[in-house]
Symmetry: C2
Subunit: 387 residues, 2 copies
């Protein structure tokens, strides 16, 4: 087990009706609010109205900026920064999923910064100041609601890059599972794939003596595996929606990665897909993760066998651990297929002509992954395994 | 699943050598430190010297108050409050286990309060202010290092009572598993029993749809069950000590109880034992918990069967869930025996003459427990099951 520092200060307000009191959480943090959101769905189902009512009742000023797209764009971040400066915004409320939250985080660090906010995503600058952020979550997926990360796509060059800082961790996150009832089925699916990927990036480690976090990660994975088929059949099942939503936040809230070195190659490999082809991040991960597993499992067959036995209830055959490990990989691939997730690049509509370019871009800052370090040729092979 | 608010702000600094930089964590929080500890063990193994060196190097002033006993006493708390006021103390560093931390918390709320600090433990007053606290943990047990609770024993009347407030949650906790190498075996044992009890108090709930926290609790229990026998055989096994220590903190850090109503009867029933007979809290819990289980399991046989199957690997016999549930109770009792924990009042040296008095005191503020509400007669029967 590695030494670590862990502190996740985000206040979680969880449950039915909690979004109606969002202004209570903003009090003391800011007075001039940027209300940041995505498409029209928050207006369609009345969420926008309830939030505006709460802000108005509390006497908070607000301006709004909608239009965040999946794989949130740098151009909208620039627009948000300008809007905040013009309106002396001192608090950003993100209403949506990971894309909206990540866009809000980028705006939050861009406003007090003199240079180009993209500097934080290229490593040219370190975050020293940020506007406070709050979240009303509408999708169980990215875990950005209590994470220190933000991923932004720069249209020019099709670059998808991330920035990490404790200063952008949201002050609060309101999680009402009812808000996920009306999600299109594919968003529920992609969200679940994203959550599982966050758990597996942490699970596949070479760090020894990590029983405790292994068990927590396995438990979170089993929670998604059990509850995802339930919500697909019964989208208004509160209990199942609640399990997925809370597991999704905890999955990416640092605790489950304490003391262990996560892998994160699959996220990097996927970022090139969504950077170029604008596929949903979760869909891309469902394709890349099994391919990555097939390519790397021999680096630690015992760990893959443990994954198979504990997460997928594969019978433990101690005389043939490799077969156990492979059965685990088959089970996750079959699970993805059974719920309707894509498992090939073809299903994502991605042709083979740019695989080499993507592998090149993916590794331009050096090899990716910690479970096994992957260079350009390795990444290319993984893309090919995903065809 | 119940609505909930969750926020645990304690910064965890975990790993080898971390206590040597304790002063770095105090900077910005205070300048005049009360160094609070228990018996002489922190001096015996050099911990005291390393901490004092760090404080001096950072130019922090400090006064010290040792002598905290297990089941920390109100009289020492009064002494600490006086000492803090005389020395203008603005920060309390607790070096020890749950007793030292709980005593530090009591002092922290007593200093700025005009009345009797015991008021916070009787419900007569609510905490509105507290000195900041930091912890260097030396025992994996109570979880007080990131919890909002403090339990103090008032010698007069042999009363053991608790106080809950987010204001007494430690600002930081330094967890170095190496510091637990030199614990007497019984302290390791009692600590593990305390951790398991914290997990089981949360596990045994009547709240529906709590898959995710069920899984986390089961994983934490399995972590202790696996690693406790390892550290008993090999006290300097860093990996196993680390699993127990981190699980012990997380067990009582609120996350694992989110959205579910815990039971807590066993803690209340045990408090009377340690209040009157001054037995170690963990030892008392090892005796009370199996007795409580035998008395209440029929209230929710499915939950006890789940506990048996998932935590203790009992074969699932779906035609005889009651037998499965009972086998789970036998397994935990046998596990306690196998590691050397007491499972009867007799082993604690507790006679039968005050059982009725204890049952009376335990329920004087109303029935205890949420899994099944227990009145005086119920508590008495549980004590008798523990004879």
């Amino acid at each position: 087990m590695e030494n670590f520092v862990f502190q996740n200060t985000t206040k979680i307000v969880f449950g039915k009706g909690t979004e109606n009191h969002v202004a209570n959480e903003i009090k003391g943090l800011g007075k001039n609010v940027l209300l940041h959101y995505g498409g029209g769905s928050i207006k369609k189902y009345g969420l926008y109205d309830r939030i505006v009512a709460s802000l108005k009742e509390a006497g908070l000023n607000f301006v709004e900026l909608g239009g965040v797209q999946p794989n949130p764009r740098l151009s909208l971040v620039y627009k948000g920064i300008e809007l905040c400066r013009e309106n002396k915004i001192d608090f950003i409320l993100a209403v949506g999923g990971g894309s909206v939250i990540d866009s809000a985080k980028a705006i939050a660090i861009g406003v007090p910064y003199q240079g180009d906010v993209w500097d934080f995503y290229t490593g040219k600058a370190q975050v020293e100041e940020a506007l406070p952020i709050g979240v009303v979550l509408t999708i169980a997926a990215a875990g950005s609601e209590s994470s220190p990360g933000s991923v932004i796509t720069k249209e020019e060059g099709e670059l998808k890059r991330d920035c990490l800082s404790d200063l952008i961790r949201p002050k609060f996150a309101i999680l009402n599972p009812e808000l996920t009832y009306t999600l299109p089925e594919e968003q529920t699916l992609y969200g679940a794939a994203d959550i599982m990927a966050h758990l597996m990036e942490r699970y596949f480690t070479q760090t020894k003596d990590v029983d405790f976090t292994d068990r927590l990660l396995e438990g979170a994975l089993k929670t998604i595996i059990k509850n995802l088929p339930i919500v697909l059949k019964d989208p208004q099942n509160y209990g199942a929606r609640a399990q997925i939503m809370w597991a999704g936040t905890v999955a990416h809230g640092d605790l489950l990665g304490t003391g262990r070195i996560g892998d994160w190659a699959s996220h990097n490999i996927e970022h090139e897909l969504s950077g170029i082809y604008d596929v949903a991040h979760g869909a891309g991960l469902a394709v890349i993760f099994p391919a990555w597993m097939k390519y790397v499992y021999k680096e630690n067959i015992a760990r893959f066998a443990q994954f198979a036995v504990r997460v997928w209830d594969v019978e433990a055959d101690f005389n043939n651990l490799e077969e156990v490990a492979l059965e685990g990989i088959r089970r996750i691939e079959n699970f993805f297929k059974s719920v309707g997730l894509p498992v090939t690049l073809g299903e994502l509509g991605i042709p083979e002509d740019k695989l080499e370019l993507m592998a090149e871009k993916c590794t331009e800052r050096g090899p990716v992954g910690n479970f096994k370090k992957l260079f350009k040729e390795d990444v290319l092979k993984i893309y090919r395994l995903a065809i």
